[in-house]
Symmetry: C2
Subunit: 689 residues, 2 copies
């Protein structure tokens, strides 16, 4: 079968995903809701989230425009050296990349801020309908993200047939992800920390108390950080993995391999649709088991259908093997990651025990286990990359790297399912808050608690998955970078490159500098949260001082929630820009100074230390969070004990680790890798060394 | 001039250093001391330190014996494949390496535990004599370490003329450093944390209170961690840098280059002798200025004398340039590092300010600045490696890597001076404690405080220096590894290697696994401190419960100090062994599975993430320490304030960061690099891939 048919199939499956998302959306929307208090708070959250998105998208639109103009002039080849039409196409593809991702994010926020209310109210009828509302709400996001990414890549490929356009589209997705993930991460932690500092610590009012001016911003944060941000992140990884695989496939003469990439991606989405449609809670009323079961079902369907397709369409079995390697390793990394953040296991329990001796010991044990957690995931990524390479190497020169890119596609194939599970988390988390504010009673709270804790457990797996996928994707992007460089080198009669030798001092130079980037990026984000929180704390103090009757909770006196949302929004954008520009700027400096070889080292250093830090920060953050919950559930003295106070310190440190810096590093690595690929021509033509 | 003359000169200069050390030793010893209380405590500290050394050396002797036997059978080539005589020589060289380093460590402890008493008493006569006692005490260690390393390398080279023997000697030094640095680091933090937890936190008795059973162990810790441990670390780096340079020089045909290495090293030691002999306090009574001035004087003398030698003996000016690049970058890294840990600068002050909001913010800002601090040092190492390589590259194939090894030799050339400055720190720190226990009065305490704070300031520079030097050294060892592999490959008709291409999946596999090692190593050490501290806390509780009159401080009732020293000693050895064996074991697994290419990646990953973590942990730890001192000096509420409590949490987290894990990583990297070089033949002949 010709490639075109597979692309058409992809488009059809993507449209199916949209239809399915629409059906799920309507299903969630028509679930009953009646509680006025909940409706009012739900409305405030929705408005707040939309305020954030609007402001973010306005800034992003300006940023996009500037970058698009630069692309027209300089990329992939400067207009005085190359074909201006290609530049224009790339710029358009870039713009489309941001729009598609923004669209998916908007849909996610839209449904999440409806589903939270429905889930809270459904809990009055029992855990099963409540679970289904939460899960299907998350699935709308899952379907929209993967549908949009598959549709986008297919359209770009079918219309332009240019690898530069694919990279441009992917870069657009990455730019948006940088804003959504890092910006959302700063937003959510600014609000969370400020609300706690003034509310819980200074005034001693409970969490989610409506008098607290930051309480709505805090709930908005869950949505913009965990729903929109995470969706954009996985949109980005998904597009990047397909782009890398397609770029490499093109240099292998294209042919059947391009069809394979589209076919496997389409099957992944199809399997996710089936998995989502079939998801129900089992007889045991265990939401964690239900979520995990649907993941395993999707995985199984994917493996079977891709095998069938390989047989029917006579794809290469080695390439199928590479996809399965990626998928399996993704699941394994997820399970291993779970060990370090699950409160049934030693690490979380030991950290909780150490907390009895004071906060310093909470921190030390969290850092130690966070460090340990890096090993299995790194080894997992290393083994899967090696296995995929070795599987495909016998097919010919360049096929090894193609195998790695296919492993990344395989790992991300079930991303529709993964996002559904992940977006479920903030929805039920919100629902829990709403149930409390709506005073729905203890029984309902028990149900939402149980749904919430399942959300936290699967979150660890999702994060391990997305870091692993980003790792493989950027390795594949390294291959795409070499492909791009060699195309230009051939055109301009320069020396072709075959790899990056670390004993070459230019490569080593890049390696060391690249390794420092994720650390600086993380530091800038965390310092940004700190500064932004200070602004918000000042605003909360102002409101309590100036608004009469607020502190006393007089009926009818409301805080100015919007002001806090505004501060969190503006601050997050302001603080994220230096971090993002820094990473891009350093890539350009290293590229124009050291040339292609330095960039090769730079990318590798960036990948290695980025994976390291992302794993460390996500896992230690998750460990502290669950350690606190473990103590709160009555261990080591329970709430109010020394261990609890220490565990709260751990959790506060862990918040920006796991929700701001850690997950943003994924995006940073991808952005840098794409910038390198896009600038490949310029680096080849104009560099100091 | 023949190489032999330069080696003889080296031996002569080394012997001069010993003579000078002897003179300094006698000078310090004949300083007056009369206070009985001080003498008694000083005696307890000396006995405790010797107990630790004895036990450590006994374990080490067994370890050495086992390794020596293994070397005889397997290394550098298994006896059934190679020359058994070479194996025996290597084993002997290995044993000598441990003995020379142990000897230097023993001398250091010997003088440090005399000089602390003398420094305390000299403070009664003013800051100048007190400074001189402390500094000259430290200088004994500096001269002994560098003298022993230069003598050892010279003798091994002149007697055996084999590179494998050099690597064996260096591996011996590394083994000892691993025990001394990591073991000493666990010891010192176990004692420090336990003493504080029970003494200050639980019972509310002051620091250095003689009733506390752990108080002597705490003071012993300063000596075994900072004096013996740090000395062994720099002995190790110094030997490794020379060994790497000599191994590479041999593959370049030896000749004049071997002479250059010895000549430059001898001049470095000579310059340090002059610098130490001339060190006096200036008119301003500023100890920091005095320490820095002697460093700059030594640097200047070194640059001038090596230039003269290059002119006289017709060495190559490019090689001289590489040495100077290394030296300058060492100084620059030190200065930049200082920025992040100096309480006159923003980072420390910002961290102190954040502490007002609670311990979580102390931790977050310390981690953020620690991350930022990585960039300048990594760029510094990257630039110096690149510059040294490019300087020497025109001399011919293989000369670039030789240039890097010479930069490492250059950076370490003034190590005699560096150690003198660094060992000064714990001596004056001890002196401060002794002055307090001996009740020498406020004026004396002011003097020892001022001397102590200078010790902390120069410590930051020393640490930056030693991490930078380790970085360059291990890069050079990578070159040595390639040389060793190619010798074997040529003998056995295997393919020669020219480098490590990171797009080769085997290299990439090694890279990812190697990058995880320093994290796991650090985690194991920190968890070890935690476990060991628990044992010691239990012992302190037991003593307070069982020894009547101890808590009340009845005259004549003494705690059993020895028990605590025993626990710290045994625990430290027990906890360090898994960490050390893990690093070595993983090297062997990767080597025998993935072969030479995987090890290449492994070493690079290990270097990159090791440098990263060492810088991060040392600098954030230093920042927290000085942040606490900054608050204690009256800022943000001073002692007892919220900021102070938070800053204390930061300091406790920072302690194992900066004194256990951070500085041990240097040694871990060197050990792994040497293991790889020593096993080069076995990896080449027997590997799965």
């Amino acid at each position: 079968m010709d490639n075109i048919y597979f692309i058409i199939i992809s488009i059809v499956v993507a449209l199916m995903a949209f239809l399915f998302a629409g059906w799920l959306y309507l299903w969630v929307k028509k679930q009953p809701s009646s509680n006025e208090k909940i409706a009012r708070v739900g409305e405030l959250i929705r408005r707040g989230a939309n305020t954030f998105l609007r402001k973010e998208y306005v800034v992003l639109a300006k940023f996009t425009l500037v970058v698009a103009v630069l692309i027209v002039v300089f990329l992939p080849t400067p207009i005085w050296k190359g074909d201006v039409l290609e530049n224009i196409i790339m710029a358009l593809a870039y713009i489309f990349g941001t729009i598609f991702s923004a669209f998916a994010g908007k849909i996610g926020i839209q449904i999440a801020t409806i589903a939270n209310v429905k889930t809270a109210e459904a809990a009055q009828k029992g855990i099963r309908p409540s679970f289904l509302s939460g899960f299907r709400g998350g699935a709308v996001m899952g379907m929209a993200v993967v549908g949009a990414s598959l549709l986008g890549v297919s359209l770009i490929f079918i219309i332009t047939d240019q690898t530069s356009a694919l990279l441009g589209f992917s870069f657009g997705a990455s730019s948006l992800a940088l804003f959504a993930k890092a910006g959302g991460g700063i937003f959510t932690k600014t609000a969370d920390i400020s609300a706690d500092l003034v509310g819980k610590v200074e005034l001693g009012i409970p969490e989610d108390d409506p008098r607290n001016p930051a309480v709505i911003a805090d709930n908005v944060g869950d949505n913009v950080g965990d729903v929109a941000g995470m969706g954009a992140d996985l949109f980005d990884s998904n597009v990047a993995s397909m782009a890398a695989a397609l770029v490499i496939a093109s240099t292998l003469g294209g042919g059947k391999h391009i069809g394979t990439v589209f076919c496997f991606a389409a099957i992944g989405l199809l399997a996710s649709i089936i998995g989502v449609a079939g998801a129900r809670m089992g007889k045991k009323d265990d939401p964690t088991a239900a979520l995990n079961m649907s993941t395993y079902v999707t995985t199984g369907i994917y493996a079977a259908l891709t095998a069938l397709a390989t047989y029917l369409f006579e794809f290469n079995w080695r390439i199928w093997g590479a996809a399965i390697v990626g998928l399996l390793v993704g699941v394994i990394i997820g399970i291993v990651t779970d060990y370090f953040t699950n409160d049934n296991k030693k690490p979380v329990q030991n950290a909780a025990e150490s907390s009895e001796k004071g906060p310093a010991f909470t921190i030390l044990s969290g850092v130690s286990y966070g460090f340990l957690s890096v090993l299995p995931a790194m080894v997992g990524i290393a083994v899967s990359a090696l296995a995929a390479y070795k599987l495909c190497e016998p097919l010919g020169a360049g096929y090894g790297m193609f195998g790695i890119s296919i492993a990344a596609v395989g790992m991300l194939s079930i991303v529709g399912m993964i996002i559904s599970n992940d977006a479920y988390g903030p929805i039920v988390d919100n629902a829990r808050g709403l149930a409390e504010m709506g005073e729905l009673g203890e029984e309902v709270l028990d149900i939402t608690d149980s749904l919430d804790s399942a959300g936290n457990t699967v979150k660890a797996i999702t994060k391990g998955f997305s870091i692993g996928a980003a790792g493989l994707t950027v390795i594949a992007l390294l291959g795409a970078f070499i492909s791009e460089v060699n195309i230009i080198a051939e055109e301009h009669g320069k020396e072709l490159i075959s790899g990056f030798d670390v004993t070459n001092p230019i490569v080593f130079f890049g390696l060391l500098v690249g390794a420092a980037i994720p650390a600086v990026f993380s530091a800038l984000l965390m310092l940004g949260v700190n500064r932004n929180a200070q602004r918000m704390v000042a605003e909360i103090h102002r409101q309590f001082d100036e608004i009469e009757g607020l502190k006393e909770g007089i009926e009818g006196v409301d805080p100015e929630y919007d002001k806090c949302i505004e501060i969190a929004t503006e601050g997050s954008i302001k603080e994220l820009i230096p971090a993002g520009l820094f990473a891009i700027f350093m890539t350009l400096v290293v590229g124009f100074v050291g040339g292609v070889q330095a960039i090769g080292g730079f990318l590798v250093g960036n990948i290695v230390s980025g994976l390291f830090l992302a794993l460390f920060m996500s896992n230690s953050g998750g460990l502290w969070d669950n350690s606190k919950k473990y103590v709160e559930s009555g261990h080591h003295g329970g709430k109010g004990s020394v261990a609890h106070k220490s565990a709260v310190v751990g959790d506060t440190v862990g918040d920006p680790f796991k929700d701001t810096a850690g997950p943003s590093i994924n995006t940073q690595i991808t952005v840098v890798s794409l910038v390198a690929s896009i600038f490949a021509a310029l680096f080849t033509l104009y560099s100091l060394f």
